[in-house]
């Protein structure tokens, strides 16, 4: 049987807390280019703490949600070939590490509103 270990950082009490952005829909570019390094959008918060995300010509209003069941962010580690020689065969080559916990997310589930700009000037 394969045993895959999920290890937890030493000082896990200080496990960092990350935030998740949950978009009902998906982000894409018109041309199939890699997303790496590209700009997504501006995230604002109103004085009443409502998150506003502006992506391209669209404005999305969201809300901050406390997750009833938090998430652990796991990072997969593949063991390199030379070290795996020494290890137990039954322990799989991959292991996971708990990198962070996520207890809150910004949920954008409403239909995005287009920004109507009859402005000739380019942004």
């Amino acid at each position: 049987m394969v045993q895959t270990v999920i290890s937890v950082a030493g000082a896990s009490a200080d496990c960092p807390e990350w935030v998740l952005i949950d978009l009902q829909g998906s982000l894409e570019t018109r041309h199939p280019v890699p997303l790496s390094g590209r700009f997504v959008g501006d995230l604002h918060f109103t004085q009443k703490d409502v998150p506003i995300l502006i992506i391209g010509h669209h404005i999305l209003y969201g809300k901050t949600v406390h997750l009833e069941k938090p998430f652990a962010v796991l990072v997969k580690k593949e063991r390199s070939a030379d070290t795996s020689m020494e290890t137990d065969q039954n322990v799989s080559g991959t292991s996971y590490h708990v990198k962070a916990l996520i207890r809150r997310k910004l949920l954008f589930k409403t239909r995005p509103k287009p920004i109507i700009s009859n402005v000739p000037k380019k942004l």
Partner: protein, 415 residues
């Protein structure tokens, strides 16, 4: 970058994709706000410019949903282990519990953004300012965990490969099957450490020379009979068995670990012993366990037994001073009426299937209708915190009234 909802493709803004990494002039931010008719004063001063990381990686990051037990385990810094062969459903084990792991797919984009701050943590006043936040991964799946019963049935079949029948027999042909150490079980059995230990205890496995073994039934009989004989000679049934004095004569015959194990298995629990003897190593044989053992001895190798005769034989077997009673043998045998004569026969729950549906099928094959009292000993080990015995019966059996008594039979119409 553009936004797409399933039925609503939207034109993208070409310019944005040309913007180099982590540069977003404040003028642009403000201009967009203006077009969006958003007032600066209504917003908190900090704008977070979100970029995909240059090392955007969707393959090495995973989300796993946690319940409160799992969260505690992680916060305590303890390891978790995923166990399973390729052909098995993977389970995730903490030290104590076992979970089924399922991958949930979602159409939403989940953006992992470590640096993003939420509104509550932002200042309400101050000059407009900006930060850059990276999206490390975009995910469309996460792992869902559901606490499940440990898949412990393998333990029994593994242990049955090689019963222990005494030192002398270890070399003979019948005892060359596999033997297992605790670490071996972790590799083979889909359950947590605590659950495997509990399983070993329940099966009455004994650690002999480093290996976990089941005692052969006849061999166990010998050990127990010697112990009981000593008890009767020394009047230890009432007073308790002093360990050292008991070991002295028996250690010539049986390994010490076997004697101690047998005492553990057939005595009242340690806590009760402690209370009555303030920590001295004394064992008190448990009447119910001993009586159950002798019932098993009587019934195990015989076919149907005349019930009245059995009651007599059974009472005569047990040590003087112990009283047999029917509740001691529940889940071990059934009583039927054949041609006006009541018979009892060996039907141990341990030998029935572990899967709930299979268990009910086996039970209804054996007997068409059961009363609640009759069936409970045969299903109570399947109950969980969420599904109690009543819920199991509702789901897997059909109730009907027969002569004013509620009876349960199979839900399947064709049998």
């Amino acid at each position: 970058m553009s936004w797409r909802e399933s039925q609503m493709p939207i034109n993208m803004e070409e310019e944005d994709s040309d913007i180099p990494v982590q540069s977003r002039p404040m003028e642009t931010v403000n201009a967009i706000l203006e077009y969006a008719k958003l007032e600066r004063s209504e917003l908190k001063p900090l704008v977070q410019n979100i970029f995909f990381s240059p090392e955007l990686d969707n393959d090495h990051m995973t989300l796993m949903e946690l319940d409160s037990h799992m969260l505690d385990v992680i916060l305590e810094g303890n390891e978790l282990v995923i166990r399973g062969d390729k052909d098995e459903m993977a389970v995730l084990c903490t030290n104590e519990k076992t979970y089924e792991v399922k991958e949930a797919e979602i159409s939403n984009d989940l953006l992992i953004t470590p640096e993003v701050l939420i509104g509550k943590d932002l200042d309400s006043e101050g000059d407009p300012c900006q930060t850059f936040s990276q999206v490390l991964s975009v995910l469309h799946t996460y792992y869902e965990l559901r606490e499940c019963k440990p898949r412990i049935h393998k333990l029994k079949s593994l242990l049955e490969e090689n019963h222990y029948s005494g030192r002398e027999s270890e070399r003979d042909e019948k005892h060359q099957g596999r033997k297992f150490q605790f670490e071996d079980f972790l590799e083979i059995v889909q359950a947590s450490e605590t659950e495997i230990r509990a399983g070993l205890r329940q099966l009455q496995a004994c650690q002999i020379e480093g290996f976990w073994r089941l005692l052969d039934f006849d061999y166990l009989c010998q050990v127990l009979n010697h112990i009981i004989q000593l008890c009767e000679e020394n009047d230890w049934l009432e007073a308790g068995i002093p360990l050292a004095e008991c070991l002295l004569p028996l250690e010539e015959l049986f390994p010490r670990s076997v004697i101690e194990h047998t005492l553990e298995c057939y005595s009242r629990t340690r806590q009760e012993v402690m209370q009555s003897f303030e920590g001295s190593e004394r064992y008190n044989l448990d009447e119910d366990k001993i009586c159950r053992f002798f019932a098993e001895l009587t019934l195990k190798n015989s076919d149907k037994f005349n019930y009245k005769e059995f009651l007599n034989v059974w009472q005569q077997c047990v040590p003087d001073g112990m009283t047999t009673s029917l509740y001691q043998i529940e889940g071990m045998c059934l009583i039927d009426k054949i041609g006006g004569i009541e018979v009892i026969w060996y039907y141990p729950v341990e030998e029935l299937p572990e899967e709930v549906a299979d268990r009910f099928e086996a039970l209804f094959k054996t007997r068409e209708k059961w009363t609640r009292e009759e069936i409970i000993p045969y299903i109570k080990d399947l109950a969980t915190d969420k599904t109690d015995v009543g819920a199991l019966l509702t789901k897997y059996a059909r109730a009907s009234m027969s002569n004013g008594i509620k009876m349960f039979n199979s839900r399947k119409t064709t049998r």
